[in-house]
């Protein structure tokens, strides 16, 4: 009897194979940075042991916002309208606070049409991961500059951009955003650790990811091309993530200096020093890191700012522990006696 070949399927902590987290086939341009980010979302959700159906994937409009179709096929999602994903996510979040909300948007969504909604979602500290797939151009409408295009950068066609960009991380830090990170779609290891940490964080977690547009903005004169970002990335630290279900003491201790940050679900974000320490609780240090990188025409990556104490919106609203969507008529409709009391009060 010949031996049957047994395919070993690797399972995560909740015994799900990675296939449970994948989605449909991408229709983006081959080599698009966004597809790498989709893969990172799949890996992070799988590694963190999230139940696929307890995730909600949200997006706006644009190339980036099409991607929820390409990952987490077992999760409900909502591809909303241009720049308005934050408000839709806010409404969903407060009525069902127990889901994990992962919003994906682009620089058109987040820095132009929807900048107001992004600002107010940060201000309210909505418990969600907010990913910006930031390439400096509008892809779906064929390559116009966006509001994050760097000064002096030149896309494939057209003049050099002379307009001052909006730095979404600097903006978020100034707004008191509770988790602000920048990464690069080509830095899989760093990005995966940041994504996992953002999922474990309770509050608004912004990850601004430079994700080169291979079709319209990947030429050598662009400050957001693969080549340029690869050569000009300034890492604040090396980011590691230790999930709450892995005992910390079993993880190898780094040789150099490092800082451990405990996240809301008990997981740990381990930041290993590369050249000098960056204090993630210091907003001014984060801003100066951004300004310094900007002056040097570099892209600073890593976790810029973190505040684990700020209450999220659902806490501010003093919501009942049972998510609102799970409540029945007994809790939603006051009784006939209560109506009588109301009318008596109105009669005065």
């Amino acid at each position: 009897m010949s031996e049957k070949r047994v395919k070993v399927v690797k399972l995560n902590v909740i015994n799900e194979p990675k296939d449970s987290y994948t989605g449909g086939k991408s229709s983006l341009c081959p080599g698009c940075g966004h597809d790498q980010i989709s893969n990172v979302i799949v890996t992070a959700a799988w590694d963190n042991g999230l139940q696929p159906h307890r995730i909600a994937k949200m997006s706006g409009i644009g190339c980036s916002s099409k991607t929820p179709a390409y990952y987490l096929g077992k999760s409900h999602g909502f591809n909303t309208v241009h720049g308005r994903m934050p408000s839709v996510t806010t409404g969903a979040n407060v009525v069902n606070k127990d889901l994990t909300y992962i919003g994906v948007s682009g620089d058109g969504d987040s820095a132009s049409i929807g900048i107001g909604q992004l600002i107010h979602a940060i201000r309210r500290n909505v418990n969600m991961v907010y990913v910006v797939e930031n390439n400096g151009v509008y892809g779906l409408t064929k390559g116009q500059y966006s509001a994050t295009a760097d000064v002096g950068s030149k896309k494939k066609k057209g003049p050099v951009n002379e307009t001052q960009p909006i730095d979404l991380c600097a903006m978020a830090i100034n707004l008191g955003c509770s988790f602000v990170a920048r990464s690069f779609s080509g830095s899989k290891k760093q990005l995966t650790a940041l994504m996992k940490a953002a999922i474990s964080h309770k509050g608004f977690a912004l990850i601004d990811i430079i994700s080169p547009c291979v079709t319209f903005n990947n030429n050598d004169e662009s400050l957001r091309s693969y080549g340029y970002v690869k050569d000009n990335q300034a890492e604040l630290h090396s980011v590691g993530y230790i999930p709450h279900f892995s005992p910390l003491e079993q993880v190898e201790v780094p040789a150099g200096s490092y800082t451990d940050v405990t996240l809301h679900d008990g997981s740990t974000m381990r930041l290993e020093t590369i050249s000098e320490d960056h204090d993630i609780s210091d907003a001014v240090a984060a801003l100066s890191a951004l300004h310094k990188a900007d002056a040097d025409k570099k892209h600073v990556t890593g976790i810029l700012y973190f505040d684990g104490e700020k209450p999220s919106l659902d806490v501010d609203l003093d919501l009942h522990d049972t998510p609102l969507v799970e409540m029945g008529e007994d809790l939603l409709r006051p009784s006939p006696e209560q109506l009588e009391d109301v009318i008596a009060a109105l009669r005065g």
Partner: protein, 595 residues
């Protein structure tokens, strides 16, 4: 000279921010508590302090609620509009005026009662003189008309609910006003009030507050809103009642967010609806304009959500504190592309409450945005109310699949597949793990997958059309009052309910014609509306706008033989509808049509 009892109009001209609203409400409450049919209209500016405000109190034995055609008693307090107000009065009008305003009283043909309102108030309390002066004119009116002092004092107590100092001060101001008239002036007019049998249990309430209460009893779970006149008091009403009525184990069973703008408010309630909750926003025309894109998304992706539009005068910023039925076409066909929406149109405060809870059931049943359509007149004026009836139906969450067992019982499930043939598909909720899809505003097939195929798009749009069309007879039926002759039928809606009786009477007095009436309470139009049109020889559609919006909708939807019967009276000047203005236009239209 015969006495005119309980049948006249008082116009009070003041400036806003001076406390006159309290005085006017005391007057209204006193008359109401004497059992006199009375209504009050607040004509206020878009301003916080110092601009002209008028309050119209109409007493009518016939129960007419509209502002009257003319003023019988004028209170003059505001120097800014003094001359204009005075010039507009008909000879013989009673004028009670503040001597301390130093304005001239140059009309000899009116009945003049000068009162040193400010002096009286200053003696009582120099600091609050400006406020109290308003209650002085209430006291003067009480003496002039023979209002019951005990009832007046009770109304003052009610107005200042529990604040002993304010009650005492204002009570004294009213007494001094009364005493001044009795001692210093002689009554030379023929207006008087008399108590009538009191209908027990009545109270005053604004339409907006009734909507707010209806929403709370409708199980609202998420309120996303942005302040705008005249709708803010809907949201504020909900916010004030929720903690009292919807707290469980000390925690909220609801979420309220004041959004950054109307777009975000719409997004939030759509997010809530998508997640499986009852979301509501309240706004006015300019807000709906801003929400259009989102409304289309909710229609196309089939997400329940509720929008209340408390109409003000458009276009643009328009007259923000005046009333109109100017948004009907906009809400019915809101957003780009082919859309059609369910619209509830209350005409009374009782219906504001009833539709307040019904809109949620309709929205979840049909998985679509549902509109409530009110206006500033109904929403922000106080109306007499007998009470609210507790919902007579359980909450209807519509076709939501909650378990795998349920899912298995549905043959060939697809998020957008018309399994039952009524155009309404089944849906599952995020977090359930049941047949998840990516909701989208792009074209999609019956399983929710992106599609641009011609037949897929065509079928989807036909189904959506059929779905909304199927709601016609589920929605509130029109209120029909048929005359035997069945010659002339008047179709109207919303707050016109409060003027229609007077219009009917004036038309009959002047033409001898009795009319049938049909008050529409929802869109798309109930089948009984068409039956009403079939029965009558001529139909006049009466509404408070310029472009005859309901008339236009009807012309688009009804068969040719009905169109030839249809006539239109559409008029809007920002004021609450006055009976004579509309009646005269109906008479003109009848004459032109040679009826």
């Amino acid at each position: 000279m015969d006495q005119v009892v309980n049948d006249f109009t008082i116009n009070i001209a003041t400036a806003n921010g001076t406390g006159s609203q309290s005085a006017n409400l005391i007057l209204l409450q006193t008359l109401f508590d004497m059992g006199i049919p009375v209504s009050g209209k607040n004509l206020f500016p878009s301003n916080i302090s110092g601009l002209p405000t008028w309050y119209i109190v109409r007493l009518s034995e016939k129960g007419y609620q509209a502002p009257g055609d003319r003023t019988h008693i004028q209170i003059l307090v505001n120097p800014a509009t003094w001359e204009e107000d005075l010039a507009s009065l008909e000879p013989g009008t009673v004028v009670i005026w503040n001597m301390d305003s130093k304005m001239p009283m140059e009309r000899e043909d009116v009945i003049s009662y000068p009162v040193p309102m400010t002096k009286i108030a200053r003696k009582l309390n120099p600091k609050l003189a400006r406020m109290i002066a308003n209650v002085v004119y209430v006291g003067v009116l009480a003496e002039l008309l023979g209002m019951d002092q005990e009832v007046l004092e009770a109304a003052i107590s009610k107005q200042f609910g529990g604040k002993a100092k304010a009650i005492e001060l204002n009570g004294e101001a009213a007494r001094l006003g009364r005493a001044y008239f009795a001692e210093e002036l002689t009554k030379s007019d023929n207006y008087a009030v008399e108590s009538r049998e009191i209908e027990e249990g009545g109270f005053f309430i604004e339409g907006n507050e009734a909507i707010a209460l209806g929403s709370v009893f409708g199980g609202i779970q998420m309120l996303g809103w942005y302040p705008i006149t005249p709708s803010s008091s809907v949201a504020e009403g909900i916010i004030s009642w929720l903690p009292k009525l919807r707290t469980h184990e000390g925690k909220a069973t609801y979420a309220v967010i004041q959004a950054e703008d109307e777009l975000a408010a719409a997004g939030m309630i759509i997010g809530a609806g998508w997640a499986g909750a009852r979301g509501l926003t309240a706004t006015s025309g300019p807000g709906i304009s801003l929400m259009q894109e989102f409304i289309g998304l909710a229609y196309f992706a089939e997400v329940p959500c509720v929008f209340w539009d408390v109409n003000r005068v458009g276009p643009s910023t328009g007259l923000p504190t005046r009333t109109q039925q100017g948004d009907l076409t906009m809400v019915y066909e809101s957003s780009h592309g082919d859309t059609k929406h369910i619209v509830f149109i209350p005409g009374t405060v009782e219906e504001c409450f009833e539709f307040g809870w019904k809109v949620f059931d309709a929205s979840e049943k049909y998985q679509t945005p549902v509109f409530g359509f009110s206006d500033l007149d109904l929403g922000m004026n106080k109306w007499a109310c007998r009470g609210f009836e507790y919902p007579d139906e359980s909450i209807d969450r519509g076709k939501v699949v909650l378990t795998q067992e349920q899912m298995d019982s549905i043959e060939n499930y697809g998020r957008y597949r018309d399994v039952d043939g009524d155009g309404i598909p089944y849906r599952t909720l995020p977090g359930s793990g049941l047949d998840p899809i990516l909701y989208r505003g792009t074209g999609h097939d019956e399983d929710g997958t992106y599609s641009e195929k011609p037949d897929v798009y065509y079928k989807l749009m036909q189904r959506l059309g059929r779905k909304i069309d199927g709601a016609r007879d589920y929605l509130p039926a029109p209120i029909i009052k048929e005359d035997e002759e069945q010659e002339l039928g008047v179709i109207f809606y919303g707050s016109m309910e409060n003027t229609i009786d007077e219009i009917e009477d004036i038309v009959e007095e002047n033409s001898g014609k009795k009319i049938s009436t049909c008050r529409i309470r929802a869109l798309p139009l109930h089948s009984e509306v068409e039956a009403f049109m079939e029965k009558h020889d001529k139909i006049i559609v009466v509404e408070i706008n310029r472009d005859a919006q309901l008339y236009g909708i009807m012309r688009k939807e009804y068969p040719l033989h009905l169109l030839s019967k249809m006539l239109s009276v559409a008029y809007s000047d920002g004021m609450p509808p006055r009976g004579r203005l509309y009646a005269e236009r109906i008479l003109e239209v009848l004459e032109e049509a040679e009826i």
